[in-house]
Subunit: 219 residues, 2 copies
């Protein structure tokens, strides 16, 4: 997956370089006003050169989001479920990169079309995150039989996505605090016991280092 040996090493490096440039472009400019020509210029290439590596703009943007996921996966390790509970820390980090949040919303909206290149990616991504979160919820409550973990997972991810939508229009909204509070209310004090401060508190806990690309289902 990382650093392939062989004739593709150079290509892979270029790809990563382009992805980084795209990431930077969206972080700075927001998703409007970002063309493939802009991105190409950042890496000292032409538009056609970028197209050669990704085939289409949508493929490149999907690769950008995949790259963020990969980074998150690496940081949190293989233990399933725990990453999702960090969502308030993630939202806190996302608040510093509105361009990337916008990229996510833009792409997921476009990917709703069944024949969109990124459709399968997002479908599987949501499925995966819902499954993991549900599993983690079941293990964190006293009596798993009393909660509908699948429903809770859907709702929680929905709230996280939706609050980012509102935040994009009104940056004064404290996304992380709102979601943390919801977690405390929905699954009780066990929520986020792993690393974030106690639920219900709206203060900004320590949360050592919010990883670059970790989030439950929203960018």
């Amino acid at each position: 997956m990382s650093k392939p040996r062989g004739p593709y090493a150079k290509t892979s490096a270029k790809r990563q370089q382009i992805i980084d440039a795209a990431l930077a472009a969206y972080a700075e400019a927001g998703s409007r006003n970002v063309s493939l020509r802009d991105i190409a210029q950042r890496v000292g290439m032409t538009y056609a050169g970028v197209m050669h590596h990704f085939g289409s703009k949508e493929a490149l943007l999907t690769a950008v989001l995949e790259a963020r996921d990969a980074v998150a996966e690496e940081r949190f390790g293989p233990e399933p479920g725990t990453t999702e509970l960090l969502s308030s820390a993630v939202l806190r980090h996302n608040a510093s990169t509105p361009g990337l949040v916008k990229l996510f919303v833009d792409l997921v909206a476009a990917a709703a079309e069944p024949d969109h290149p990124a459709h399968d990616f997002f479908e599987q991504r949501y499925e995966r995150f819902r499954g993991r979160l549900a599993e983690r919820i079941e293990r964190s409550v006293a009596d798993p039989a009393e909660v509908d973990a699948a429903w809770l997972a859907r709702i929680f991810i929905a709230a996280a996505d939706g609050i980012q939508l509102q935040w994009l229009l009104d940056p004064d909204i404290d996304m992380a605090a709102d979601i943390e509070r919801l977690g405390g209310l929905l699954v009780g004090p066990h929520w986020a016991a792993g690393s974030v401060g106690s639920a219900g508190s709206a203060g900004e806990g320590p949360t050592p280092d919010a990883p670059e690309g970790a989030r439950p289902a929203s960018s």
Copy 2:
């Protein structure tokens, strides 16, 4: 506001005709593959003719969403706050028009950009809906001092928006049931006492006629 007398009557009619055509186009095709030329063709006009009436594509699309809001406002009457409680009925209706849901998500994502033509529209729309919902929540609970109505409004609208995002990718999700259940859990049995069945139940209540364009903050 409606049916102006004078020289603009014909223009106004044309505008409405175009809006209806755009609505139909999005309902059928989804938001990709819909160009202003498609819409123009539906009303027997050229692209430039449509442009004359709206000035830009974004202005037209905003007008479409405004028109839906206007219809909802008319149906529900002036009583503030009650409309929002119908959201599960609205979501049930929205489930039949994925193209329009996609239009909403597409536009709101684009409108996150501060200089986007529809930015102010969405900003005010969310502000308005949050205010109304918060007010209604305060009146529906036993002790208003014990709930943070503003937070509940943000979270509830966020969940409604977010669940539609998931539904676009997985139509098997029962948006209305999920949100109804959340309402019952967050603000208790008083929730949706107006017209929808008792909260917490995932069944599909009667909800006589879901109006064309009513929804709290999502399309």
